[in-house]
C-alpha cells in the first residue's frame, strides 16, 4: 500500500522523489524504492529509521502492517511533535491508539485506502483526529485525491469502508474472472474474453459516475442510480434481461451484501 501511494503521488506529481523519504526494513523493498528514484531511504523504523523520517518530514505516513504498529509507534513517539501530521493507513489501528502512543497534541489522521491507488483510481475514506486542523484536512484530501476518490467519514464508519472499498477489489477481480470464464464457455478465446470483461467493468462503473452528462443524477455529484442504468439497457426479452435473470435467481445481490458486511464485521473484530 505504501508503494502504491508513493507511486501514485509521483505519477500525479503531488510530490517528487526528492521530497519523499521512506523507512523500510526489507532490503528488497529498499531496492524497489531506489528504482523509483526515492533518494532518502532509511532503515528499519525501530532501528533509527523513525527518527530520520521524523526529522526529514512534516507529513508522516504510517504504512506498516497492523501487527507491527505498536513497535513502530513506540519508536516514532520520541521524535514526533505537534509540528507533524501523522497519517496512518494501518487497518484497525484506532485514532485513540495513535494519539495515546504518539502523545497528546499530535495531529493524527486515519485512512482506509485501497490498492487501485496504484493506478490512480483508488477509493479512500479518512477520519480526522482531535487535533487536526482544517489545513491538515486539506492536505490529506490533496494527497488522497491524487490517487483517486477520497471522502471524510466518522471513525466508526471506517470498518464499513474496509469491508466495501478496502476489500472490494478482490470481489471485483473474482467477478471479472468469472465473466471471462463465461465468455470462454460461450466460445471466446481467453485473451479476448478477459479484455472484454475488464473493459466492460471499467466502462460500466464509469457510467455510474454520470460522465455522459446525464440528466438523471441521483445526487448533486452527478452520479446515476445503477438501477436506472440497468433498466435502460435491459430491453424486452433481450439478451441482457436473460443474463440478469440468472444473477438474480442465484442471489448474487445478497452474496455481495454479505461479502461487504462480513468483511466489515471482521474489520471490527480485528480492531477491537
Amino acid at each position: 500500500m505504501g508503494e502504491a501511494l508513493i507511486r501514485g503521488f509521483l505519477r500525479s506529481k503531488v510530490s517528487s522523489p526528492g521530497r519523499i523519504c521512506v523507512s523500510v526494513r526489507d532490503v528488497e523493498r529498499q531496492d524497489a524504492l531506489e528504482r523509483i528514484g526515492i533518494g532518502s531511504i532509511f532503515g528499519d523504523a525501530t532501528d533509527g529509521g523513525s527518527k530520520e523520517v521524523a526529522q526529514f518530514s512534516s507529513v508522516i505516513l504510517l504504512c506498516t502492517k497492523p501487527q507491527a504498529m505498536t513497535e513502530v509507534l513506540q519508536s516514532l513517539a520520541p521524535h514526533v511533535t505537534s509540528e507533524h501530521l501523522v497519517i496512518s493507513v494501518a487497518a484497525g489501528i484506532t485514532l485513540q491508539t495513535l494519539e495515546s502512543a504518539l502523545g497528546e497534541g499530535v495531529r493524527v489522521v486515519r485512512v482506509m485506502p485501497n490498492t487501485p491507488a496504484l493506478v490512480q483510481c483508488g477509493a479512500s475514506a479518512y477520519a480526522l483526529g482531535k487535533n487536526v486542523t482544517a489545513r491538515d484536512a486539506d492536505i490529506v484530501d490533496l494527497l488522497l485525491s491524487s490517487v483517486g476518490f477520497c471522502i471524510a467519514v466518522e471513525e466508526k464508519q471506517l470498518d464499513a469502508v474496509t469491508g466495501l472499498s478496502g476489500s472490494g477489489p478482490a470481489y471485483v477481480y473474482l467477478m471479472i474472472e468469472a465473466m471471462a470464464d463465461g465468455g470462454v464457455m460461450a466460445g471466446l478465446p481467453r485473451e479476448t474474453a478477459l479484455a472484454l470483461a475488464a473493459k466492460t467493468v471499467a466502462g460500466a462503473a464509469q457510467m455510474v459516475f454520470g460522465d455522459d452528462g446525464g440528466s438523471n443524477s441521483s445526487s448533486a455529484l452527478g452520479m446515476v442510480h445503477p438501477g436506472v442504468l440497468k433498466d435502460r439497457v435491459a430491453s424486452p426479452a433481450g439478451t441482457t434481461i436473460a443474463g440478469l435473470a440468472e444473477l438474480e435467481s442465484s442471489g448474487v445481490r445478497g452474496a455481495f451484501i454479505r461479502a461487504v458486511s462480513r468483511a466489515a464485521q471482521r474489520a471490527k473484530e480485528i480492531g477491537s
Partner: protein, 270 residues
Amino acid sequence: MADKRIGFIGAGQMAEALARGFINKGVCKAKHMWATDPVDERKEVFRSFGTNPVNGNIEVVTSSDVIFIAVKPQYVSVVLREVRPHLEDRHTIVSIAAGITLQSLKDAAGDGIRLVRVMPNTPCLVGETAAAMCLGGKADDSDAQLVQRLFDSVGKIYRVDEKLLSAVTGLSGSGPAYIFLMIEALADGGVRSGLPRDIANQLAAQTVLGSAKMVLQTGKHCGALKDMTCSPAGTTIAGIHELEKAGTRAAFMNAVYAATQRADELAKSG
C-alpha cells in the same frame, strides 16, 4: 485517416457518442462529418458540435467515405437498399446494429461493398466501450485498421469471427447491466454496515472502476490480484468466502452464457 469523411445514418445517442469521441481524440474533424436523422432535434444536436447534418441518407453517403449505420436494427435493410445505387469502392459501411448479420448487410447493400459489423456497448456513451468487429463483403485489413483507429478513441475494440458475436453480446454487450447490479449490491452492503447511501455509492462505483483498471493496466491475472489483497485471516478473505459460498462465479458464468444463448435465438429468428 485525417482525410476520411465520416457519415452517420441515424443520429441517436450512440452515433453522437461516437462522433464526439472521434472529434475529441482528433481522429476526425467535425467539419468532415455528416449525419442524418428523421428527428430534427437530433440534427440540431449534431449541428451544435460542428458537424454537417443533412436531410437524406443518400446525401450522407455521397459526402462520406466511412458510413456508420446507426439506425434501429429493423431499419438497416431499408436504409442500405435505399443508398445502394450510390455505394462506391471508397465506401466502408460500419453497422452497429445488434443482431444484423454480415449476410443481411450484403443482401441489402449488394456485392463488392466493404462491410464491417461492430458490436459496441453502452459505455460508448462515456468513451469507454468494449467492442468487437468482424469483416464482410470486400472489407480488408485496411478497413479493420480504420475501424480500430476510430473505436480506439472511444474505448477498445477486438476483431472476432462473426460466429462469436453472440458471445460478445452476452459478455460485453449485456455485461454492463451485471456490473450495475453488482455496484448497487456492494453499496447496499456498505449501507448495511453503517455507511450513508451517497458515500456507499461513490465508494462502490470507484472500487469497481479502480479494480477493473488494475486488471487492464497491470496485466496481472485476476486470481493473482485477488491473492495479493487477501491477507491471512483478514477482512478480504472473509468477504471472498461469502461470495464463494454463494456460487457467485458460476452465477456470472451463467449470466454470460444465458445472454449468449438468447442472442443466438434472436439471430436465428431475426
